[in-house]
Symmetry: C2
C-alpha cells in the first residue's frame, strides 16, 4: 500500500521557490478515491519503459467533470509529446472542469515541448492529482504551484511509492548526476563465473540469457571493461527483445583492444569507447579508423564514465564487466542494484573467476547487507535481485 | 502424490528368495483407503529422526478388524523395540483380525530384537500394509513373504515415495556401503566463504547458524579436515538443539594438529581422528595422550572414511570442511546433497576463500546439474537445498 508522501510545509518542495499555497495532502478518503486512477496512469507510464531517457516515464488519465474517463496518454519517447498533452488531446473540451491524474508533477518549463502546466490550465481542468513531485530542479514543485496559483485544486502523493519505484533511475540521475547502476552476473552455486581455463559459456541456461537480453533493451547503456572485450568478444545487444538497443560502452585505460570485435560493427547498436589520457596513439587511431566513437576522460574511472553518460541522457546503466571493474564500480558507489543469476551447478577451481575482485574489507561485519527484492526462477537457474536500500522483501 | 511402487513379479524382490506368492500391488481404491493411515505411520516414524542409526526410521499403526485405531508405535532408537512391537503392545488382543500399517517391510531376522514378522503373526493380524520393501539384504522381501505364506493379506507401495525420502540415508548406506553425504557451506552472494585475511565470522546470521546446529543433531557424523581444525577451532555440536550430538570426525593425513582444540574436549560429544599411514609419531602420541580416538586408514580418503563410518553404523554424514576436502569428497562421489546458505552481502577479494577447490572440469557443460529441492529464508539469509537426483522442484 502506498504511503502518500508528506508534502505541505517545509522540506521537499522546490528550494525556496515554494508557492505560498502548498498542495493539499490527500486524506485517506481522497487517496482511496484516486488510487485506482493513479494505478491506471502508472500502467500507461510503464508503456514507455526503456524509451524515455533522459526523461522519466509518465502516464496521464483525464476525467470529465462527472468523473468519466475521457483521455489517456503516456510519454512514449524523449522529444515526443508529454503524457498530459496526449490525454488532453483525447479529452478535448470534455476536460473542462475535469480532473487530470498524472504520475509525475507536470512540467512548467519550455523544453523540447511546451510546459504541461500551461496545457492543463488551457484545457480548464479543475483538479490535478499527482503521484510525486518532479525532482528535476527546473520543476521541483513549481509546476504544482503554478496550477494552484491559477485556482486548480492540487493533490500530491497518491501512489507515491509506486511512482518513485517506476522512475527510480530517473530520480537517481537527477539527484546524483549519475545514472542508476545495475551490476549483473551469472555464477555457479559455488560462486564461479568461469572455469580455471576461462570457459564460461554457458553457466546459465537459455531462459536466463533471454532475461539478460530483454534487460539490455531496457537500460540506456551497457558497460564492459577492456578485459571482457578481449576475452569474450561480446555482442551486448538485446537480440531484438527490447524496445531499442543500449549504447555499448567499453572502459579501457590503455586502448589495447583487438582490431576484430563484434562491438566494432555498429549496424545493430552504437559503441562508445571511454579511455584515459595514457591511451596509446595506435589504439586511438585504430578506433578512429573503425569509426568507433571514443571519449577521453581524466581520470577515467567508473564515476567519471557515469557522469559522462548522465550528460548524454542515460538514466540507467548495466555493468556487465569482469570482477576487477565490478569491484571498482561498487567501491565508487556506482552500483545501486544487483542481479545475480545462480545456476544449480558446481564448477570449482582454485583459480576460477569469481564475480568480484577485492573490495578492501578486513572484517566480515563491514560487508553491507543488500535488500533482496525478489528471487525468480529462470529455467533451471534462479535470479536474485537486490538493491542497496535497507528495505528487503518479507518472506 | 505417491506412486505405488511396482512390485509383484520380477525385479525388486529379494535375490532369488522370492516367495511363490508376491504381495498384491494396491489398486487405486486400496491406495486411497490406506494412504491416510500410512501418512500417520510416516509421522510416527519421523519422531525417531536422528536417533535410529544404523536402523531406519519406522512407524506403525494398528487397526482392529472394524478399522478402529488401536495402536501406534515408532522406532525410537537402535536397540529399542521396533515400531510394530510398540503398536501391537498398545493394541493387545484387539489386533486380531486387524490391519498393521507399517512404513517399512517388517523384519524377519533376529537382531538385537526378535523378528517383527513373527510378532505380527503371533498377534493374529489379517492384513499388513507397507510403504516399501526393506532394502536390507537380510530382509529384502522375505518379511512380507513370511506373512503371505502364513495367509496374511499383504499390500506394498502405499506412500512409497515419501517413505523412501524419509529413509533416504538408510537406503543409501544399505545399498552403497557408505553413509549419505551432505555438503554444507555458507557464502556471500559473490561466492566467498571468507575474506582474503581469513575472516569468516559471521557470514550468515544467527537464524542460519541455528539451522546448522539443528542439522548437526540429526546426522550421525560431522566431518572436517585438518585445515579447518587448525584455522577455525570449531565445536561442531548441535548446541543442544538436536536429539543427540554427532560423532565429530577430523580427516588429517599428517596429524599435524594443535594440542589445544575444542574438539579434544569430549564432554559434549565424541571425537574421532582419521589419518593416513604417514601420520607423524608425535601426532599419534598426542591424540593418544589426549584420549582422542584415532583410526588409521590406508589410503585415507573421503571414500575410505565413509566406509569406516558406515561400519560404525552411520547412515548420514555432514561435510563441514574447507574447499580442498569438499572438492575431493565431491570428486569421489561422497556427496549426494548440498545445502548452501547464501547471505545477501558482497565480500569480494581476489584471494578470498570459495566453497570448492578444483573439480577438474575443462568445459562448463561437463558440470552436473543438481536438483533444487527448496529455497528457504533463514533470517536475512537464504538456504538452498539440492540433491543429485535429476528431479528438481517445479516452480
Amino acid at each position: 500500500m502506498a504511503q502518500p508522501a508528506r508534502l505541505g510545509r517545509g522540506g521537499r518542495w522546490g528550494r525556496g521557490r515554494l508557492s505560498p499555497v502548498a498542495p493539499m495532502e490527500p486524506t485517506a478518503e481522497q487517496a482511496a478515491r484516486w488510487r485506482p486512477w493513479m494505478r491506471r496512469a502508472l500502467q500507461l507510464a510503464a508503456l514507455g519503459q526503456g524509451r524515455t531517457s533522459p526523461n522519466p516515464m509518465v502516464g496521464c488519465v483525464v476525467l470529465d467533470s462527472s468523473g468519466q474517463l475521457v483521455g489517456e496518454g503516456f510519454h512514449a519517447q524523449a522529444g515526443h509529446p508529454h503524457a498530459e498533452v496526449g490525454a488532453l488531446g483525447q479529452a478535448g473540451a470534455r476536460a473542462e472542469g475535469g480532473t487530470a491524474i498524472v504520475t509525475l508533477e507536470p512540467c512548467c518549463h519550455q523544453g523540447r515541448t511546451p510546459p504541461c502546466s500551461q496545457a492543463l490550465l488551457a484545457a480548464g481542468v479543475g483538479r490535478v492529482v499527482v503521484a510525486m513531485v518532479d525532482p528535476d530542479p527546473r520543476v521541483a514543485g513549481q509546476g504544482l504551484a503554478q496550477l494552484q496559483d491559477a485556482g486548480v485544486e492540487v493533490l500530491a502523493g497518491i501512489c507515491g511509492q509506486e511512482a518513485r519505484h517506476l522512475n527510480r533511475a530517473f530520480i537517481h540521475r537527477v539527484s546524483t548526476g549519475r545514472p542508476l547502476g545495475l551490476l549483473k552476473w551469472a555464477m555457479s552455486l559455488d560462486g564461479r563465473t568461469a572455469l580455471p581455463n576461462g570457459s564460461s559459456q554457458w553457466i546459465s541456461g537459455p531462459e536466463a540469457r533471454t532475461w539478460v537480453h530483454r534487460l539490455r533493451g531496457q537500460v540506456d547503456a551497457v558497460i564492459v571493461g577492456g578485459g571482457t572485450l578481449r576475452a569474450d568478444d561480446p555482442l551486448l545487444t538485446s537480440r531484438g527483445l527490447g524496445p531499442r538497443e543500449p549504447l555499448r560502452v567499453v572502459l579501457s585505460q590503455t586502448l589495447d583492444l583487438p582490431p576484430q570485435r563484434k562491438l566494432w560493427d555498429q549496424s545493430l547498436a552504437q559503441t562508445l569507447v571511454v579511455h584515459g589520457p595514457d591511451a596509446s596513439a595506435q589504439g586511438r587511431q585504430q578506433l578512429d579508423q573503425l569509426g568507433v566513437e571514443r571519449l577521453e576522460l581524466d581520470p577515467c574511472t567508473p564515476v567519471t564514465v557515469l557522469e559522462a553518460l548522465a550528460q548524454r541522457g542515460c538514466n540507467q546503466v548495466l555493468w556487465e564487466c569482469g570482477p576487477a571493474l565490478a569491484a571498482e564500480a561498487l567501491g565508487q558507489g556506482c552500483v545501486q542494484q544487483l542481479a545475480a543469476v545462480i545456476a544449480p551447478k558446481l564448477l570449482g577451481g582454485v583459480a576460477a573467476r569469481t564475480p568480484l575482485g577485492d573490495l578492501g574489507l578486513v572484517d566480515v561485519n563491514e560487508a553491507q547487507q543488500w535488500g533482496l527484492q525478489g528471487v525468480e526462477r529462470l529455467g533451471a537457474d534462479w535470479l536474485w535481485q537486490l538493491n542497496n536500500s535497507p528495505r528487503a522483501i518479507q518472506s
